[in-house]
Amino acid sequence: MKISDENSSKPINPTSFQGGIECVGNRKMGQNRRALSVINQDLVAEGRPYPCVVNKRALAEKHNVCEKKQADPGHRPITRRFAAQIASTQKNRAEGTKKSNLGNSNSNGFGEHIFVDEEHKSTTDDQPVPMSLEKTEPMHSESDQMEEVEMEDIIEEETVLDIDTCDANNPLAVVDYIEDLYAHYRKLEGTSCVSSDYMAQQSDINERMRAILIDWLIEVHDKFDLLHETLFLTVNLIDRFLAKQTVARKKLQLVGLVAMLLACKYEEVSVPVVGDLILISDKAYTRKEVLEMEKLMVNTLQFNMSVPTAYVFMKRFLKAAQADRKLELLAFFLVELSLVEYEMLKFPPSLLAAAAVYTAQCTIYGFKQWSKTCEWHSNYSEDQLLECSTLMAAFHQKAGNGKLTGVHRKYCSSKFSYTAKCEPARFLLENPL
């Protein structure tokens, strides 16, 4: 079966949104919606662009993105040797910190080091690198030991900056509770995961259809400019619902749409209106069908929306990795590729998140990289990540091939810094488990 060709046509005017938020800066879509012809044979694609949806947080995020891009010219690529030095020093510091932490009942000293706003961290990360590079280059004749000492000094300055940043963000509220929060998430994720073989109980749909649906929803999510957490919750709701309810193939897209509606209602400040969702399905369903499916899903899921998705772990582990924007985007690229693949349901969200960060570091640095800080906060050793990581590297390698390229196309855009174009970490594939 063919996926319909995209073509340009008259744009649809944006409709008013729930909550009366005005549409700021109307955008015209370069790409058109792709219909799920494989799932719904009655669907006829006409290639209409999507209405514009804007929410406050996304605009703020865009602003941050612009600021970070301006900082990029000052950033120099990290050489292999320099990265190795950073890694070595980080490990030493992390080990020291971990030892001191083990002796304490609270983790204030350790936690403060981690609790850095992404915005502040970007600034912190950008500034020291050029300085250190300038110092390093003219001192080729000096010994490595001297360079390591200086590196430690530089990184210690970052630590001091982190602490100040933490104070500015009301550390009492964060430090007192953040460890409890993640202990709770780890405990909770066992109950909110679904069986990795639930599809066997479905008679009319299969793994391939699920992949097509989620690939399309990732595109919808991007067009509506929704939050990261909304996407992860959407996929969680779909899987949990399909694990409990038999669904006809003609209704599978409806399940996806309603899952996204529910996720938006839970996560977004501004919720897309039902009419918009009907439009992006090319009017395959009526409003009545949408509302009835919503009621069925809410009752079936018993209003359980507060689940720890891979997103909450991603945020924490990226902080532990002191990720810059490039690493962050690549990690999200990898974990979103995993959302599409049914077989990845066998891994809990925290493992998916840790493996995504690990794989992203391997991809960027060109060698295996998993610091003691990352191991501490994720509760996963490098060995535990290898199976999942190998699969992610494989997904990265084939992301641009085949029919399901929604994630690849999303991350090939300037908005996502052309993240998908970087080479996968082939060495992770050379020795498959």
Binding site: Q18, G19, G20, R57, A60, N169, N170, L172, A173, D176, Y177, D180, L181, H184, L261, L262, C264, K265, Y266, V269, S270, V271, V273, V274, R287, V290, L291, E294, K295, V298, N299, Q302, F303, N304, M305, S306
Partner: protein, 334 residues
């Protein structure tokens, strides 16, 4: 979303007005509660609020008394309202001995969300007004420890209560067990969200909210707990005013009008502070809250701190010296 919620609340009020008129005409023809599929026998209407109705019910299977809150959904063209999705979902996440338990939840065929909670006989407001407040210092300490345990738990999950007051503190009298209730205004807090709603009794509202600050966090609940603490000791609310401005003035009379030194940032938050409010010197909590041991008074002063950034957290409060003998207290009471 907030506009929608305002419409929603207004719509509830008008519906209740029509319902009241109907009942005046014919008392027995009020709309019957729709408990379809909930396996409940409705015993009586316990309360009518701005968000819906509350019924006392019997669980058909267990024979236990339960409380059912029935929320009427409006604007059904957009399906289940987002605030309901959020609030119910968060309520289901809360599992703690000192938080009232949400047993189950269901959507009826037409327009109701039914929330079924465990039932407790009393609330702290009833306890204070009708039983002359817990004069026993050990009971006060035990109640405070339980309240703070529940609040610390909520805050660790990034959930605020935002409407803590004695009537939302339920009591299992035989066990002297406290359970927090009515998280209908709870919401997950995040640094970039601006909470603009100001609902609930003003007597327990934190000064940063009374000042119209649009950014607040966990500290607002600690102020409310401090007010409850004082009320348990003295038997009446600490500052009883009819509006936000007078409530704030009462607080300033008690604790002193804030300055940039005592509350950094106050001049930016309230540029006209000294035009609207006289400059009061602090009277001191000890002049109002007598009969409280020194360590309790110290803890109270850390909760009723004007500067939110210096107010004690629930987690830290549980470790305060006031509770050093709390295990003994718990054993004695249970």
């Amino acid at each position: 979303m907030w506009n929608e919620e305002s419409d929603w609340i207004g719509s509830f009020d008008s519906q209740l007005a029509r319902l009241a008129e109907c009942r005046m005409c014919s008392r027995d023809r009020g709309e019957r509660p729709d408990a379809t599929g909930m396996d409940l026998e409705v015993l009586e209407v316990a309360e009518e609020g701005s968000y819906g109705r509350v019924f006392r019910c019997l669980d058909i299977h267990t024979g236990a008394l339960v409380t059912m809150k029935q929320i009427t959904m409006v604007r059904l063209s957009q399906g289940v309202p987002a605030p309901i999705i959020r609030e119910v979902s968060l309520l289901k996440e809360l599992h703690h001995a000192n938080i009232v338990k949400l047993l189950r939840v269901g959507l009826t065929e037409n327009r109701y969300v039914n929330l079924v909670f465990e039932h407790l006989d009393y609330d702290l407001h009833h306890f204070i007004v009708n039983r002359g407040y817990p004069k026993d210092a050990l009971t006060v300490k035990s109640f405070m420890y339980q309240i703070l345990s529940a609040v610390a738990y909520c805050h660790s999950l990034k959930v605020l209560h935002r409407d803590l007051k004695p009537s939302n503190v339920l009591i299992d009298h035989s066990k002297r067990l406290i359970k927090l209730a009515d998280f209908r205004l709870a919401g997950e807090f995040a640094d970039d969200l601006l909470y603009t709603e100001k609902l609930g009794t003003s007597w327990y509202r934190a000064p940063e909210i009374l000042c119209d600050s649009r950014q607040y966090s966990t500290q607002i609940d600690l102020w409310s707990v401090g007010c409850i603490f004082a009320e348990m000791v003295i038997g009446q609310p600490l500052v009883q005013a009819i509006n936000c401005r007078d409530e704030l003035e009462g607080i300033f009379k008690l604790l002193g009008t804030p300055t940039e030194e005592t509350w950094p940032g106050i001049t930016k938050l309230m540029p006209n502070l000294h035009i609207y409010y006289p400059k009061f010197d602090a009277l001191g909590l000890e002049t109002f809250v007598t009969d409280l041991e020194p360590s309790g008074l110290n803890l109270l002063s850390m909760m009723l701190c004007l500067d939110p950034s210096r107010r004690i957290s629930a987690e830290a409060a549980l470790k305060h010296a006031y509770f050093i003998d709390v295990n003994y207290v718990s054993l004695l009471l249970l």
